[in-house]
Subunit: 158 residues, 2 copies
Amino acid sequence: MARLDLLKFMPFRLSRLAAEVSTALSSEYIEQYGIDVPQWRVLATLGFREEPCSAQFISQCTRTHKSTISRAVTELLKNKLIERVANADDRREFRLQLTAKGTRLYEELIPRLLRREQDMLSCLSVQERKDFATTLGKIEASLDLVQTSQQAKAKAAY
Amino acid sequence: MARLDLLKFMPFRLSRLAAEVSTALSSEYIEQYGIDVPQWRVLATLGFREEPCSAQFISQCTRTHKSTISRAVTELLKNKLIERVANADDRREFRLQLTAKGTRLYEELIPRLLRREQDMLSCLSVQERKDFATTLGKIEASLDLVQTSQQAKAKAAY
DNA sequence: GCCAGATAGTTTCACATGCAACTATTTTGC
DNA sequence: GCAAAATAGTTGCATGTGAAACTATCTGGC
């Protein structure tokens, strides 16, 4: 009879690990700034990219449902952490960018989150971390998870 | 100015990967058997362990909230996939076990899920898989995620 | 033996999220 | 140039989940 040890089953382990890591990390911005995970993803995308982005773009590259992004954007606008400008070329679309306040928050948050990430990986050697990242990359690629705006467009064109 | 590429940020990558893997996998039992993830976790625990388990035990070793497990158990009982027997030693607790029907479903499901897991890891060499599992184990251990019934009890005793 | 606190399990509540329908706009095919 | 299809974004709805309150039972201190 086939048996399966849940604790050694990769999908379960990933799910459990991701949940734990996410909880540990999000406490950093939820408690202190009242920002939730979708809002953080919007800020992270806008802070990293140079130019303003559309909600659609953020949705695609964070792989977060567009309604979730829409609600996160609404909240961030209300708190004046981001602002949006109409796009003359396409009036369905808005360009989103960080406000000065949003940029300050972003710059305050990033070093702390990067430190937390390093803390969580501190149980690994430098080589192990590299290998782990590489392996994750292979799995992501095989599941077609590596989504850039270019690929998103290419896909849509299919 | 510190920047953070979400696509290279481990917490985000784990979250995205876990979600994708979970969706890909759960279609195997959701569509065909109408079983959701918490229900699957209950079945997997009961099928793997020899003896009947309490809901509490399942909750701890799957790290799933007890109310979620409670609801999954209710549903599984309704569908006669598991049964519960009163525990004479402690009448607050019920011992849960698979019914014949539940065992059949379990035995049908396991090989298919294991095959899916292997498919998802097929992009890795044997050595890479081993290393990946080892690395996950280290991170889990450092986050104190490796929960056995013994550890759970030891913790509770603190 | 009894009472306070712990524990197993259930249920209520609040809330986050995905889906689908919707509006407004743009693009495509003819 | 116009109708049909596609797209950006919003919103209503259904559902799943965690926190907390609750019931029933057990345990430990005295």
